[in-house]
Every structure is written in structure tokens, then in C-alpha cells.
């Protein structure tokens, strides 16, 4: 394999890994606060739809971004009310959100555009354009570093850079701020936080809202950067892969970067090479597609390092009387 091919694969790794990274960080905030979220998929899907729709109607991608984040936040609000206020089952609520998004996006899409759930293709100012970083053109001919800088690091849309910047930011927020400490504590031992006079409900709602914003960005990225517009079921299981990556990452921001990029790489390789011939036998493309899920099962089973979820995860907090 030559450098050009390698760079192309890594480039698509970054492009395919970005929505996973955003969704994974979203899940991280929510689950660290003790709210399981299998509705990541639905939140992404609703954000992708509304951002694509609004971007096409207004021709302004930034309005699309706002609309997408709004849609995802709305879904988060449902999840929050169901699982925090009414102490419902968080998993069931997540399932409901996924179905709600899957149905509503097609219903509204068909009503507005009549294209079987798609939005019309968006272009120009309605999409996020790739950004050429400074000196990328001039440095292009420098051996090795030039192409790496030009192909791999430069030339992505703004959301990619935002996603990568969010990794250290999330780490800082979770481990170096008072809010982060409380958020993590709420996921481990809500009673202790409550005793300290901090509102468990408030922190959990904040975490669910952050999750909504990040999922929204992931969905917006899908519709306005990776593709030109919304397509029916365009998240295609990415929410679940992000969930898998979250377990892989053991609920930590930097690990999340590694896990999502690994899954991005797997997707990129499976897209580029349909069946991989490794001499002895041929790895079928279906195996490559299933690999993230298989890896997650293996990790979850504790065969390769233990993944311990936040202790109070999945349990509604009931104040003692």
C-alpha cells in the first residue's frame, strides 16, 4: 500500500469517525451522570433531518445547525422527563426515542418534500465546506509531512475540528471543573451529591441537555458535511456504534477518541476493500461490518480488559424521606 492510499483511508477514517466521536461524547456525558441513553441513534437522526430540511429551505447551513441541535434537544427533553422526572425505564425511553425519530423524520420529510423521506440535495452555503488550513497548499510538496498535512489534517469541515477540540474540552470539563465532579458523582452515588445539597435532578438534566447538543452536532454533520442532505435512516446504526465505542472507551473522553477512530477506520477499510484477501483465506466484507459489534461483545465480556459502567447508571434517583 502506498502513502496516497494510506492517507485516503485515514482521511475517510476521520470523516467517518467524526459523527461517532460526537455521539460517543454525547453518550459519555449522559451515562457519566447515570442516565443510560440508547436513544443516541434517534437524536442523531432527528438532528440530521431537521438540519438538512432547514438548510435546504433557508440555504443557510448555520440555521440548519441550530435547527438540528434543537431537534436533538427536544428528543433529549423527552428522555429527561421520562427517565428523570417520571423515573421511567431509561432503556425503554431510549427505544421509544429511536422509533419516534425514525417515524417522524420520514412522515415530515414526505409531507414537506415528497421525496420518500429524503430532503432535496443541498449545496453551496447550505452545506459545510471543507476548510483549507493555512499553508496547506504551499507545504503540499514537502515530503511525507506535506501530504499528511494537506490530505489528512486540512480539508475537513468545521464540525470535524469542533469534534476533535471537544475531546480535551470534555476531559477538562469532567475532571477539572466543579460541574464535572458533580456530574460524575451523580452517576456513581447520587445520594451523596444530594446530601451535599446539590440538585441531582438539575445535574442530570444538564447532562442530558449536553448529550442532546452533541448528538445534534453529530446529526448535523451527517446531513450537511458527510452527505448533501438528509436520507431516510441515514444514521444507519451509528448511534449504536457510538454506544459500543463508549463501552470500548470505558466512559473516558480520550479513550473515546481512540475507540471512535478505530471504528471509523474499520468502516473506511470495509468501504474501500470489499473482501480482504490475507493469503490464507478471504475476510468477507460482512465480517468487517460486524467487527465493531463483535469487538464490543468481547470487551463487554471482560475478555480484553474490564469495562465498568458508572455505578448508578440506569437507576432513577429517589430521594429518601
Amino acid at each position: 500500500m502506498d502513502l496516497a492510499t494510506l492517507l485516503q483511508i485515514l482521511d475517510s477514517t476521520v470523516r467517518l469517525g467524526t459523527p461517532l466521536l460526537l455521539a460517543c461524547l454525547a453518550g459519555l456525558f449522559s451515562e457519566r451522570a447515570g442516565i443510560f441513553d440508547i436513544g443516541l441513534e434517534g437524536k442523531m437522526l432527528s438532528a440530521a433531518f431537521l438540519s438538512g430540511a432547514v438548510a435546504w429551505i433557508t440555504g443557510d447551513v448555520w440555521l440548519g445547525l441550530l435547527a438540528g441541535v434543537f431537534a436533538s434537544l427536544l428528543m433529549s427533553a423527552i428522555h429527561g422527563v421520562a427517565s428523570i422526572t417520571f423515573r421511567g425505564n431509561q432503556l425503554i425511553s431510549g427505544v421509544a426515542i429511536n422509533f419516534l425519530a425514525s417515524g417522524l423524520t420520514v412522515l415530515l420529510g414526505q409531507k414537506w418534500f415528497g421525496l420518500g423521506g429524503r430532503t432535496p440535495a443541498i449545496e453551496g452555503a447550505a452545506r459545510f465546506e471543507p476548510i483549507t488550513l493555512p499553508f496547506a497548499e504551499t507545504l503540499r510538496d514537502v515530503p511525507l509531512l506535506g501530504p499528511v498535512y494537506y490530505e489528512l489534517i486540512s480539508g475537513h469541515t468545521v464540525l470535524v475540528y469542533v469534534a476533535f477540540a471537544l475531546v480535551p474540552l470534555s476531559w477538562w470539563m469532567l475532571y477539572r471543573t466543579r460541574f464535572g465532579l458533580r456530574l460524575r458523582a451523580v452517576g456513581e452515588n447520587p445520594a451523596a451529591v444530594d446530601t451535599a445539597g446539590v440538585s441531582v435532578i438539575g445535574i442530570r438534566f444538564a447532562a442530558v441537555a449536553i448529550c442532546g447538543v452533541l448528538c445534534g452536532l453529530a446529526g448535523v454533520y451527517l446531513a450537511t458535511s458527510l452527505a448533501a442532505g438528509f436520507g431516510k435512516e441515514m444514521t444507519a446504526g451509528r448511534g449504536y456504534i457510538a454506544l459500543a465505542a463508549l463501552i470500548f472507551a470505558k466512559w473516558r473522553p480520550w479513550y473515546a477518541l481512540g475507540a471512535t477512530m478505530l471504528f471509523g477506520l474499520l468502516e473506511a477499510v470495509a468501504n474501500r476493500f470489499q473482501n480482504i484477501d490475507i493469503g490464507l483465506f478471504v475476510i468477507p466484507v460482512q465480517f468487517m461490518q460486524a467487527l465493531p459489534y463483535i469487538l464490543t461483545v468481547v470487551i463487554l465480556a471482560g475478555f480484553v480488559g474490564k469495562a465498568i459502567p458508572p455505578r448508578a447508571g440506569g437507576e432513577p434517583y429517589v430521594k429518601e424521606r
Binding site: 421511567g88 425511553s93 421509544a96 419516534l100 459489534y293 461483545v297 463487554l300
Partner: protein, 364 residues
């Protein structure tokens, strides 16, 4: 203390949830510029107005009975089996292998073998996540979701590379031999003199599904294992203290659950398509969640809820055919049912409980 009578818990609360869900669905139909009343009428006549409509309604209901029972059994043991989709996919593989590679003199023998194979494959696919949860502590919800995707990839591989007949472009298996064709519901009903449409896929699997409802009821409330399941679901600690092995109960519950989900494939693969297709499950595994929640995990409730969802499915198909409302309306209704009967249960339940407590105080 009983806060409200049992009938209120079993009927009133789900009914109120259902009314809220349909009211919101009505608003959604209004929002997309259609008339909810006309839509409802069309759904009712389309799904229940003819024996053709009933045929499809019952065909879908059969699927949902199997998957609904599957989710319900797991619920009783406190487990959330979200993997019905994958288990039914594997069940389909079992049916296809039995029908394709063994010679069958008569459909009844083939049916028996197919039921066993479907249940066995489904059970096996559920046993792995169950074992992983019981022994290795991995969360069953996540593992079963992952197993759904792995099942889809596995089937994709097998259909494209192994089961696809030579010269065919379709990722599907060969057609099953005629001897494995199941009798349709019209033949069954014809025996007792009821005329029924011949052109629907409803078939004898419906009777198997109904039998399963009875068997599951007997299992849960009339056997030792059923008691252990419920005890485990109510309190793992107490069950452990009573000498019930958590590993064994988790395995049993999931194996039964997976077996029931797998049996759904008899209806779709053997009863309808007569060959194994890429997506023969069509989301029935997930609808099972709504069905089990709606039916309060009781087989009788599951049976009724399955027919309700069968009606929604067939009615939705009619809507898509005659109006501009896409089929996905059912997905929205399904989501609302799951939301209100599952996640927002307390929102509906608390006012009802309060009402009953106030009434009781008034009576004293």
C-alpha cells in the same frame, strides 16, 4: 398496601396510555395535513372490514405474538431482551436449513421440524448474551443489540455467499419445496365451515402462536420455573437467598425468550415467503417490546396487543396505499405506545392511583 384494584392496573392504565398515544398520533396526522377521522375509518375498514384485511391483520399479529411473548418472558425475569430481531433472523436460518436440506413427505412433519429448528436457533442466539450477562456481567441490553447487528451481517454473508442459488442475483435462498408449504388460514377455517380469503399470508402458524400464549401463561404462573423467574425478576437478592441460581434463571429465561422470538420465522419464512430473504423479520422483534409493554407481560394481554398492532400494521399499509400518509405512521404510533406504556408509565399511573386513593378515603 394495594393502591388500586388489579383491573385498573391491568386495563385502565394501559387504556389511558393508549388513548394518549392515539390522540398524539391524531395530532401528527393533522400536522401532515390529513384528516385523522378519515384515516382511522380507512384503517378500520382496510384491516378489519373484510376477511382479506383480517387475513393480513392476523398474519402480522402472529409475528407480534411470538416476539411479544419473547419480550414478556424476559421481562418477568427482569431482563430486557431487545434482541428479538436477531433471534428471529437466526430462527429464519433454522427454518430455511430444515426446509431446504431435508426431504419432507408432508408439511406437518416439516412444520414440526421447522418449529424446533427456529426455536433452537433463536434460543442459541439468545443464550450467548444470557451467558455473558450471567457469568461475565456484560449488560444484556447492549449485548443483544450488538447481536442483532451481528445476526444481520451473518445472514447477509450466508445469503450472498452460501445459500444463494447459482445464477441468481437476489440475496435470497432458493424456494422451498412444495411439500413444506403450510396450509393457509382459509383451509383451517374451511374445516369448520368459515369462509376466509385465500389471498392472504395468514397461515396455521397463528394456531402455534396462540398455543404458545397458553403455554407461556402456564409456564409463568403454574410451574416452579415460572415462580423462580418471577421471583428473580422481582428481587434478585431474595431469589438468590431462596436458593435460585441467578445464572441458571437468566439462561432459562433468555433461552425461552429467544426460542419464542425465533419461532416467529415459521410464520414469515415458511408460511409467507417460502424462501429466506434478507430482512424477513421487518422490525417485528422491536414491535414485540411495545406489544409486551402494552399487554403488561401477560400472555392474554400480549395476544390482544399483538392483534392491535397487527391492525395498525395492516391499517397503516392501507393508509399508505390510499392516502399520502406514509407507512412510517405506524412507527410513530409504536414509539408513542412504548413511550407512554413503558417509559412514562408513572405519569399515567400516579394520577390514577391518586384517584383511587381519594375514592377509597371518601368511602370510609
Amino acid at each position: 398496601m394495594e393502591r388500586m384494584p388489579r383491573w385498573a392496573d391491568a386495563l385502565l392504565v394501559p387504556l389511558i396510555s393508549l388513548i394518549i398515544a392515539s390522540a398524539i398520533s391524531g395530532l401528527v396526522i393533522l400536522a401532515i395535513g390529513e384528516d385523522p377521522v378519515a384515516a382511522m375509518k380507512l384503517m378500520v375498514t382496510g384491516a378489519l372490514g373484510s376477511s382479506y384485511g383480517w387475513g393480513y391483520t392476523l398474519y402480522y399479529a402472529t409475528n407480534f405474538m411470538f416476539t411479544g411473548l419473547a419480550v414478556a418472558v424476559a421481562f418477568h425475569a427482569g431482563l430486557f431482551n431487545i434482541g428479538g430481531e436477531g433471534q428471529a433472523t437466526l430462527g429464519g436460518l433454522g427454518v430455511a436449513l430444515v426446509c431446504l436440506y431435508l426431504p419432507w413427505p408432508h408439511w406437518s412433519l416439516a412444520l414440526g421440524a421447522a418449529v424446533i429448528a427456529a426455536a433452537g436457533f433463536g434460543a442459541l442466539w439468545a443464550a450467548v448474551p444470557a451467558w455473558l450477562q450471567a457469568r461475565r456481567g456484560s449488560h444484556i441490553v447492549i449485548t443483544t443489540i450488538m447481536f442483532n447487528f451481528i445476526a444481520a451481517s451473518l445472514l447477509n454473508y450466508l445469503l450472498v455467499n452460501v445459500l444463494r442459488p447459482q445464477g441468481s442475483m437476489d440475496p435470497a435462498s432458493a424456494r422451498f419445496p412444495d411439500a413444506t408449504t403450510l396450509p393457509g388460514l382459509h383451509e383451517v377455517l374451511g374445516l369448520v365451515g368459515i369462509p376466509f380469503s385465500k389471498s392472504t399470508p395468514a397461515n396455521i402458524s397463528l394456531l402455534i402462536a396462540l398455543a404458545c400464549c397458553v403455554l407461556v401463561w402456564a409456564l409463568i404462573w403454574r410451574t416452579r420455573l415460572g415462580f423462580a423467574l418471577r421471583a428473580f425478576g422481582k428481587s434478585e437478592k431474595a431469589a438468590r437467598y431462596a436458593g435460585i441460581s441467578p445464572v441458571r434463571i437468566t439462561l432459562y429465561a433468555m433461552v425461552i425468550s429467544g426460542g419464542l422470538a425465533g419461532m416467529m420465522a415459521v410464520n414469515t419464512v415458511m408460511g409467507e415467503a417460502n424462501r429466506l430473504l434478507m430482512n424477513s423479520v421487518e422490525g417485528a422483534g422491536f414491535i414485540g417490546i411495545a406489544v409486551a409493554l402494552m399487554g403488561r407481560s401477560h400472555p392474554a394481554g400480549v395476544c390482544l396487543a399483538a392483534i392491535l398492532f397487527g391492525f395498525l400494521y395492516q391499517g397503516g399499509a392501507e393508509l399508505a396505499l390510499w392516502t399520502k400518509i406514509p407507512r412510517e405512521l405506524i412507527t410513530v404510533i409504536q414509539a408513542l405506545v412504548i413511550l407512554f406504556t413503558g417509559a412514562l408509565d408513572n405519569m399515567v399511573r400516579r394520577p390514577v392511583e391518586m384517584m383511587f386513593m381519594a375514592a377509597r378515603r371518601g368511602a370510609k
